[in-house]
Symmetry: C2
Subunit: 117 residues, 2 copies
């Protein structure tokens, strides 16, 4: 699991870290970019409770199951891929320029991460 998370981080230019977490805010495992000091666990935890609400809102609006969330702010972009009903993987990017690559890395590793749960 750690290797998959590390491959997501290493494969996405500008990525600071990735974390696999439950929607309850409890991290399963994480990987950081070399030299990065981001507390990605706290960040993902802070958002995880909001993600549950977005998930419930999407379902109540008949949009079906939530698959991806992204949150872009001036100093960072958070990309989230829902892995199972209970878990998601989140990737923190310093620059939004590699948004597409990050999204692709999350998508292409989702099945492998699911298999580790």
């Amino acid at each position: 699991m750690r290797e998959i998370l590390q491959s997501i981080v290493d494969g996405t230019p500008g990525a600071k870290g990735a974390v696999l977490m439950g929607f309850d805010g409890i991290a399963v495992d994480q990987a950081l970019a070399e030299g990065a000091e981001a507390d990605i666990e706290s960040m993902a935890m802070e958002f995880s409770f909001r993600f549950i609400e977005l998930k419930q809102a999407a379902e109540s609006l008949e949009m079906g199951e939530l698959t991806d969330i992204c949150i872009k702010a001036v100093h960072g972009t958070f990309l989230v891929r829902v892995i199972t009903e209970e878990f998601f993987v989140a990737l923190l990017l310093e620059h939004p320029g590699h948004f597409g690559k990050g999204r692709w890395m999350l998508r292409s590793t989702a099945n492998a991460l699911r298999d580790t749960l």
Copy 2:
């Protein structure tokens, strides 16, 4: 304002509608694609309260001001661009394939929409 919203919808293949709304959930104006029956106002309203929380979370995490949110579910994708401290514009896509075009439309019209407020 209506014309700008309509140009976003008409310029994005697969778009169902766009709405300019306050974070308090009150819509300013909206535009629908021809033949679309989506209640985009109710959908955006349902999410708007969650957006305030995401905004506050991003700021408390020192990510700076929130600029974009996207929420992708099985049957629809919601793209959001923050226009001012109080207002956002949301675009509902039926298919995620035109995500990039939708995001570009929101970004390129943001200043013009801001000027109408």
